[in-house]
Amino acid sequence: MEFNKDYISELLNLYKEGETSLKQEQELKLYFSSEDYDKEFEAYAKLFKFFEIEYKTQMEDQVKGTDKKSSSFWINIAASICIVLGGLWFYDYYQNQLEMEEARQAFKTTQNALNLLSNNMNEGLEKLEYVDVFSTQKNKLIK
């Protein structure tokens, strides 16, 4: 960086009066950050170097704000997976329940049909008693 010595001393005078703009102060900082500043301005160099160092000071153990956002993002994802799985499970359960109901219904109908059949069968059985009578009569006759 090329800096004219007269220009710098003019800037420094303005600086002392509090008349420099931020841009001009930037120029001064740049001038003093390189090691080849004029030794005449040694005292100013100390000041500007101090400003540089001070500006870089950081506070230890800062408050962090970004982690929270990402964790809530993952919680959202986890929650939606839970809801979807829950929905699927419930649908499955409901479907099973329907099938069970149908099977129970079918079982009942079949049972009724079988009962009906066996009742009718029993009715028929009464008539078969006569066959027994017939056979004893026959035995009497044939002996």
């Binding site: 102060e25 040694e42 100390k46 000041l47 160092i53 704000g65 956002k69």
Partner: protein, 169 residues
């Protein structure tokens, strides 16, 4: 939404708040506490942050007010912050070496300035706020800012020139 503005715009200012309050309170520990307080205060105000044009200057205003309150309450209780970070009790050799360190000379000079000039030097020369912003933060008009700045700079430079003159001999 409001908390997003907070973490995006306020949290990166922590170092600035810390440096400014350290300059005003002259104590690292007190400055840390003050920084936490400022962050907390802004967190409570997070819903209003959207309406503030210059959040950085606003933050600095809050920091300044808080530090001034702290200083006032310390004064009224006739207690002073101990400058334990700058004058470490130790061997004479240590403090001599420290005093020779250029940065610590400047630091000492700045800390000897009156409160207001210290604040203005910090805001202008270290944090590089514009004069308008400093007027807003400090509640001063443009002339007083310029005058205070010029006085502070002249005083530091005079002292620095003296010490460096001794150094050459």
């Amino acid at each position: 939404m409001a908390s997003e503005i907070y973490s995006r715009q306020i949290l990166p200012l922590q170092d600035k708040i810390f440096r400014f309050s350290r300059r005003l309170l002259s104590s690292e520990v007190a400055a840390k506490d003050a920084t936490q307080d400022v962050l907390l205060k802004l967190w409570k105000l997070r819903k209003q942050l959207r309406d503030i044009k210059n959040i950085e200057a606003y933050t600095m205003t809050i920091t300044k007010n808080l530090c001034y309150d702290l200083l006032k309450s310390k004064h009224s209780r006739t207690l002073e912050f101990v400058h334990n970070n700058y004058t470490k009790p130790g061997s004479c050799l240590d403090s001599e070496i420290e005093a020779r360190d250029e940065a610590s000379i400047v630091l000492k000079l700045i800390n000897e300035l009156p409160e207001q000039q210290r604040a203005i030097i910090q805001l202008r020369d270290i944090e590089q706020f514009s004069n308008q912003e400093i007027e807003e933060i400090m509640g001063l008009n443009s002339t007083s800012v310029r005058v205070a700045l010029s006085r502070a700079r002249k005083k530091i430079m005079n002292e620095l020139k003296k010490t460096s003159a001794y150094g050459i001999q």
